[in-house]
């Protein structure tokens, strides 16, 4: 009498591994993603080799190539800019102010802005740049 070897069944694919992977991806994107308010216009920061790490938090003042201003993603005029920054500095005097200016913005829009923000009481103002490995081609 010949006995047939029983057919080995493939174990059912477990869904636990899928859940693990999805969960890790979720945590990864939550940690990596920046939820900062983006500028309402195109801003490409200047490139540099010697920039320091960007601290988190603070106010972001964006300046477009034509000199338009935005605070934390909202377009403002000069008066509204002063009000917004003053209001934040009243509550937290150590608030960092980041100036995210387009690389083609003329300095007549940026340098007076730095002075104005300093006059309003900001003690930490930084220029946003983006790192590069090779010297900028000019």
């Amino acid at each position: 009498m010949r006995l047939a070897r029983p057919v080995t069944r493939q174990p059912p694919e477990t869904i636990v591994a899928l859940i693990d992977v999805v969960f890790f991806l979720l945590v990864f994107f939550m940690l990596i993603g920046r939820m900062d308010a983006t500028a309402p216009f195109d801003v490409t920061p200047p490139t540099t080799e010697t920039g320091a790490d960007m601290p988190s938090g603070g106010i972001t003042v964006s300046v477009s190539a034509s000199g338009d201003l935005a605070v934390d993603g909202l377009v403002v005029d000069d008066a509204a800019l002063d009000q917004a920054i003053t209001a934040r500095l009243v509550t937290t005097s150590d608030t960092l102010v980041r100036i995210n200016a387009h690389r083609d913005t003329e300095l007549r829009h940026v340098l007076p802005l730095v002075s104005r923000i300093e006059t309003l009481g900001a003690r930490d103002v930084v220029l946003v740049v983006t790192p590069e490995t090779a010297p900028p081609a000019r």
């Binding site: 869904i15 899928l18 859940i19 999805v22 969960f23 991806l25 979720l26 994107f29 939550m30 990596i32 993603g33 920046r34 939820m35 983006t38 920061p45 200047p46 490139t47 540099t48 080799e49 010697t50 920039g51 320091a52 790490d53 960007m54 601290p55 980041r98 100036i99 200016a101 387009h102 690389r103 083609d104 913005t105 003329e106 300095l107 007549r108 940026v110 340098l111 007076p112 730095v114 002075s115 923000i117 300093e118 900001a122 003690r123 930490d124 103002v125 930084v126 220029l127 946003v128 740049v129 983006t130 790192p131 010297p135 900028p136 000019r138």
Partner: protein, 146 residues
Amino acid sequence: MQDPGTFGIRRPAPSKALISLVPLIDVMLILLVFFMVTSTYLNLDMIPAVKRADDPLDAAPVTTQDTGAPLLIRIGADGVPTLRGVGMDLPALEAMFRDRLQNTPALRVLVLPSGAADMQALVSVMDAATRAGVTGLRVVRLEVAQ
């Protein structure tokens, strides 16, 4: 009470309902797609423009090291840095900074950009100075008298 001469069929006890994992997976997938779509991968750095140490009260004590006369670098409207009217490219500017630093380690550099120059021109000059080892750099601008 059941009659001993008969037998009854017992209804099977309903099995416990398992908590379904499908809604959890759905929510996680939706969150995953949300974060993938909304994430931005800008690698941003910063250059300090106004530092707390610039305050007179917090400033470091005045050094007695000879700093000499500050070096004034102008940036023209075309973005070209000039020293005493002579334009130079960035490698030449960096080499000049290194040369000056050998004689004057505490070299002070003033950068006076034209208002029509762009941000990249100023950042490139600051970058060249920093690469050369200049630590005392200030950006100045001309104001119209009221």
